[in-house]
């Protein structure tokens, strides 16, 4: 396989991995620290796309659209946490699964009511629509580079916040000892609300950035959510470092699998196998480390 093509796939894999990372951070924090399962995380991804599309239509500006869409997702996440998620902390996993399932059904139908059943498209902003020359003979879409860069920046910012600030320390402590944090006089529900909103915004951001690459449609969040869950299982619930490594692993493996396996095994078997690669990886990790690569002590 030509090196330029391999490189392009490698970049695609990293880009896909970074998108998964944005989603996985939310999941690993919400599942790991708050011990809440939230199936509607994929809905935030979907709504990010829809909101961006709508705000661009109203403001005719990509930048304004992004800002307003992020705001909208943030407000929605806070509202959801306050009204539905917070009472569910006490209820246990089954009720959380069912209630957030109800949210998924609702949001999937809502976008159909508001925007119709047909898939919609977001245009890549003109200043990012070109190609970037990587080296001799290899060009890569500027947009994909840009969103990967944004995700990396977000990752760095997250690392700085978690590792270097008081808030980050509280979040890490919340993962280990909820009681300790409460003893410190900090209102744990504030922290939880923040974490939930952060997770939602990151998911929405991933959705906004991926929107122009996919078709925006009802139910687009769920397949991504399942992949995100696989990432978190491999990385370990509660570990952001695990989420990053697992996300890159999954992103690259999945991308290469889809390209290489049909070549090696033919389209029929190859396609079927490429659908299985990340799950086989997950099964392998589970056999070796049932709690993932970097399990947090809280789990």
């Amino acid at each position: 396989m030509a090196p330029a093509l391999l490189l392009e796939q490698a970049f695609n894999g990293v880009q896909f991995g970074m998108m998964l990372f944005l989603l996985a951070v939310g999941v690993t924090l919400i599942f790991g620290i708050m011990n809440v399962i939230n199936l509607a995380h994929g809905s935030m991804f979907m709504l990010g796309s829809y909101f961006l599309m709508q705000w661009i239509a109203w403001t005719h500006s990509y930048a304004a659209g992004v800002v307003l869409a992020l705001l909208a997702i943030g407000i929605l996440s806070l509202l959801l946490e306050r009204t539905i998620i917070r009472p569910l902390y006490r209820h246990g996993h089954l009720d959380q699964v069912l209630a957030t399932f109800g949210l998924v059904l609702f949001f999937n139908e809502l976008v159909i009511v508001l925007w119709g059943r047909d898939p919609l498209y977001i245009a890549i902003p003109s200043f990012l629509s070109g190609q970037v020359r990587l080296f001799e003979g290899a060009a890569y879409p500027a947009y994909r580079l840009a969103i990967t860069a944004v995700a990396v920046l977000v990752g760095v910012a997250l690392y700085l916040v978690i590792a270097k600030t008081r808030l980050g320390m509280l979040i890490r402590a919340g993962a280990e000892k909820r009681l300790v944090v409460e003893m410190m006089g900090v209102d744990i529900s504030r922290i939880y609300m923040l974490i939930f909103a952060l997770g939602g915004v990151l998911a929405g951001l991933a959705g906004m950035m991926t929107g122009p690459l996919l078709a925006v449609h009802s139910g687009m969040g769920e397949p991504i959510l399942v992949l995100t869950l696989v990432v978190v299982i491999i990385g370990g619930i509660g570990s952001i470092r695990g989420a990053l490594i697992a996300a890159l692993l999954v992103g690259v493996l999945d991308t290469f699998g889809r390209v290489l396996l049909p070549v090696v095994f033919g389209t029929g078997t190859g396609n079927a196998l490429s659908n299985m690669t990340v799950y086989i990886l997950m099964a392998g990790v589970l056999l070796w480390r049932p709690s993932g690569l970097f399990p947090s002590h809280a789990s």
Binding site: F31, N35, I37, L39, I84, P87, L88, H91, H93, L94, D95, V97, L98, A99, F101, G102, L103, V104, L105, F106, F107, N108, E109, L110, I112, V113, E222, P223, V226, L229, V230, V232, I233, I237, T267, G268, N271, A272, S274, N275, M276, Y279, M282, A283, L286, L287, P290, S291, S299
Partner: protein, 311 residues
């Protein structure tokens, strides 16, 4: 001797209704009732795990779908006899449940839920990629399965009774098993897994057995659904929504009762039918309804009925 308690009379009434439904003569109702029974069977499978072993599986659509696909593939390949197809479909689902269960049950809590979901999605994607079987669109069965000329299930009434008999068999088995030593160990493992170990009983083998039995029953239900619709496709059988819907049915009815889930399936399907008459966007109503039910109402319908009758 069977005690003449409230529960007995409710069961008797349900069985009577079950036997009499085909006499209405309306093919639509008969098929609808058959659907209820098939989903009810799958819901019973979930209840064994949820209501007794305390395990939340978000991946049972996999076994449901494997049962359906097995029947579809075999039938279209010429193996039309139910005596061959159905046991093979159950065996396929059972095997899948063994593999997935053995891996998933090494974990607990959130991990378990997520892993079962992930494996089911894998099966879904594999089915989608099967070009020879219609990929995402699925495929039709050339005919329903046959019983070597003994019973002809190509018509709605005969098929209805076959499903009824199988459902009753499943219910009898499940009820007895959950009251037997196996069920006691399952419930004990849900109540206090550490204590169970500390009295000398390892929980893992029993949970795995429950998972496998549950998967096999779901596979049987899938085989029956394939026959009912004479059609098999990933979306309606293998999607994660199906797994979640089964959980909803169990909760609507009352977990841990075996009968409750069947009532829950009826309620769910009735709701879906009625609401979808009102508007095609009925999920807009159903989603919030589900949220309200989960957050505000504690008991399933069957539990409420039992309480009312016992008074």
């Amino acid at each position: 001797m069977i005690p003449a308690t409230g529960r007995f009379w409710i069961l008797a009434a349900l069985l009577l209704i079950g036997v009499l439904v085909p006499l209405t003569g309306d093919t639509f109702y008969i098929k609808f009732a058959t659907r209820i029974m098939i989903y009810g069977m799958a819901a019973v499978a979930i209840d064994i795990l949820l209501g007794y072993a305390g395990l939340i599986s978000l991946g049972h659509a996999a076994f449901f779908g494997i049962g359906a696909y097995a029947v579809g593939m075999l039938t279209n390949a010429g193996v039309v006899s139910a005596f061959l197809c159905w046991p093979l479909a159950v065996a396929a689902a059972l095997l899948a449940a063994l593999v997935i269960g053995a891996l998933s049950l090494r974990t607990t809590g959130l991990y378990f839920i997520m892993i079962t979901l992930a494996f089911a999605q894998m099966v879904y994607y594999v089915a989608q990629s099967l070009r020879a079987y219609g990929g995402d669109d699925g495929f039709s069965l050339v005919s329903r399965n046959t019983f070597a000329g003994l019973i002809d299930i190509s018509g709605p009434v005969a098929f209805y009774y076959v499903v009824l008999v199988l459902l009753v068999a499943v219910v009898v088995f499940a009820t007895r098993a959950m009251n037997a030593e196996f069920g006691v160990v399952l419930r004990a493992s849900r109540d206090n897994s550490d204590r169970l170990e500390a009295v000398g009983v390892p929980p893992y083998p029993y949970r795995l057995a429950a998972f496998v039995i549950s998967g096999a029953i779901a596979g049987l239900a899938g085989a029956l659904l394939a026959n009912l619709n004479q059609y098999v496709a990933p979306q309606g059988m293998l999607s994660w929504q199906v797994s979640a819907e089964l959980l909803v049915m169990v909760i609507f009815g009352a977990a841990g009762t075996i009968i409750g889930p069947i009532i829950g399936a009826a309620i769910y399907l009735f709701f879906a039918e009625i609401l979808s008459e009102i508007t095609q966007h009925w999920m807009l109503l159903f989603g919030p309804l589900l949220i309200v039910r989960v957050m505000l109402i504690k008991d399933g319908v069957y539990a409420m009925i039992l309480r009312a009758v016992d008074r």
